[in-house]
Symmetry: C2
Subunit: 394 residues, 2 copies
């Protein structure tokens, strides 16, 4: 009956947050750091130098490993583990967005696990027993990986995208400077906004009792994100908008938005999106909004009042007395919002046309070849999932 | 410019949360525990046995120390330090409300500090350099001490009530079972509701920029607390109401409600209340509501829009176009709410009649004999404080 929330990450939020890196590493006793990153922009724009200067000053050694891609790859994780072993790394700093963080967490699992294969944790064959410490300098507001227990990696062999959750992966610190997101392109800003909204929305939908306080915080967060997503698109250097989005990304995925609820949320859209982006390499946030509306209409009758409450709280959709009609209005309001920030509301909008065979393959993978179902608000089997993929592709 | 949030406490919320005590102590490597508590009801009602049974099962030794009073006393803290030293205690469990937790934190500071006087930390003469680990089994939703960095102790010599904040004091775990608050008497339920509301309200008022996300979470929390405070008074065994209050008490004081804001909040009402309850031993929550309305009207013109926003968000007070009028409506709405839950809205309502000399003494103590001012929304000197005490006593 009881639920646990554990958010040990020390978060620093605001201008110049990244200047605490040296202090944070010292506090954590780091001696040799792997700085793991994606875009070379981090080096080109001078952020990397600001980070390494601090480590130089503290007498902390470091080695750099860039090249993380969206939907981070297992091959780079393996390379990072090997490099870190050779170099005697004892702390990993992810500088970037969710991909760099998730990749850093995977390296952290692999480093701790002396003799096995790190992919075992992602297939669920083994459970992590520990991880090396990870810290974050965030440059993209989206996945919330900077406080979450989650890491998602794509294995190129078989296009498998798999996630593992454990408290060992929660970063020791997260440095959130909104100014570091000023140069995030509009499409990525939208994808990030969609992603963080979906982290809270997924948690909002389940089938057990909910805590009113958590509902009200979730609605307040979603309303604030929706407003600030538009502001950040209009003016990418709107400090307040970027700051709201940055903090919202962390709060959406650190567990606060599910605390006290009977279940951890639905997550079917996330699992379906993992298969979609595993196969077609679409942006995660866009993949989510492409599926969500179809999912929502497919499951809505389980409890239309839940959708109505969400729509009313976030977008002020009116109550008519008919929960079904109000739920449809709520779903429409979300779709309209997604379109306003130029996010797709169907797989077709993504420019992707999965064949029947591909849909079958995605559905098959999503249920782990019959080993699991998806969803909590409504439990979905392979047939349901294939139908949602098909409907969303029309 | 940047602010830090650090909430390392592992929170377990829901029925039977206290049954995790053995696991939590084991996870933290506890060998000998001081169980520190207030009311003997904890022993009489069987909670203590449920706790010690778990320690017996895990082979963890323990020693009990009860007798914590509201506005916990320094003399008991000293006794706890002495007892713990003698017994070789390495972990402290507070079983109770804020007083037991604050007293446990003080013992934890004292145990870590090998040769000085623990009261030095409370006068500000020395800064804590560490503390023994503390865990919490909560039986009263109010102070939020179960996640906070704060401890407030009363020194009987001189009726001095003083607080110290440091991350060392943040509990390792907090076990929140709403059912353990079913027997909290109505007056204490109201005081707790008022106290947690005031923790969020104090943070809402400061003079620098605020983060919209934090504002919107604060308003959502206050609205939920206000509703559930009334529900819990109507039916003390309303599980959902008790659960909402319990979690809100933690979130009101763990730092979330100030993250991203330029300042930590106003806190003048808290400091003024400390002197009031230091001298007259009134309940903290009641002392706060007794002062708040007078404080609010005294400082309101600094930024009436801030009050108007709060009133509209929490109680739906209308906007008329005049921020001053809207602010007064907001203050009235809060006072009306406090009266609804039978809380005082003046010092007179408390049944206390401070003399001029006592008011002067409280004001003098509140500013540390001229060494500090109070407040951030509006900075208050001794004169202002004396005027607020006087006005609130009329």
């Amino acid at each position: 009956m009881a639920t646990t929330l554990y958010t040990p990450t020390r978060v620093t939020l605001g201008k110049g947050a990244e200047d605490s890196l040296g202090d944070e590493l010292k506090r954590n006793g780091a001696k040799k750091v792997l700085v793991h990153y994606g875009s070379e922009r981090i080096v080109r724009d001078g952020l990397m130098k600001r980070l390494t200067d601090q480590m130089d000053r503290e007498g902390i050694e470091y080695v750099l490993l860039g090249g993380v891609q969206p939907n981070p790859r297992l091959s780079l994780v393996r390379k990072g583990i090997e490099l870190s072993r050779k170099e005697g790394v004892d702390f990993i700093v992810a500088a970037g967005g969710g991909s760099a963080i998730d990749s850093a967490k995977a390296i952290a699992y692999g480093l701790y696990d002396k003799d096995g294969d790190v992919w075992d944790f992602y297939t669920g064959e083994r459970k992590p027993q520990g991880a090396y410490p990870v810290g974050v300098v965030l440059t993209l507001s989206a996945t919330g990986s900077e406080m979450s227990d989650s890491s998602v990696i794509t294995n190129e062999e078989g296009d498998l995208k798999r996630g593992v959750n454990s408290d060992y992966a929660r970063p020791r610190f997260a440095l959130l400077d909104p100014e570091l997101t000023y140069t995030v392109p509009p499409y990525q800003t939208s994808c990030g906004t969609a992603d963080m909204m979906m982290h809270t929305i997924e948690r909002f939908f389940h089938s057990g009792p909910t805590l009113e306080l958590t509902d009200s915080l979730a609605i307040a967060l979603l309303r604030t994100v929706a407003e600030n997503g538009i502001r950040a698109l209009k003016n990418p250097k709107d400090y307040e908008a970027r700051k709201n989005l940055m903090w919202a990304s962390s709060l959406s995925h650190n567990g606060l938005m599910q605390e006290g609820n009977a279940q951890r949320g639905d997550w079917a859209c996330h699992q379906m999106e993992h298969e979609l982006s595993g196969l077609f390499d679409v942006a995660h946030g866009a993949g989510l909004t492409a599926i969500w509306g179809t999912w929502a209409r497919y499951v809505c009758l389980e409890d239309p009042e839940r959708f109505a409450k969400l729509g009313e709280g976030v977008f002020g959709t009116k109550r008519t007395g008919s929960p079904e009609r109000d739920a449809e209005a709520a779903i429409k309001a979300f779709e309209e919002y997604f379109r306003t920030i130029h996010m797709p509301t169907s797989i077709r909008d993504l420019g992707v046309r999965p064949t029947e065979k591909q849909i079958d393959e995605m559905a098959e993978k999503a249920v782990f070849w019959g080993k699991r179902t998806l969803g909590a608000f409504k439990v979905l089997g392979k047939e349901d999932i294939a139908r949602i993929y098909t409907e969303a592709s029309k």
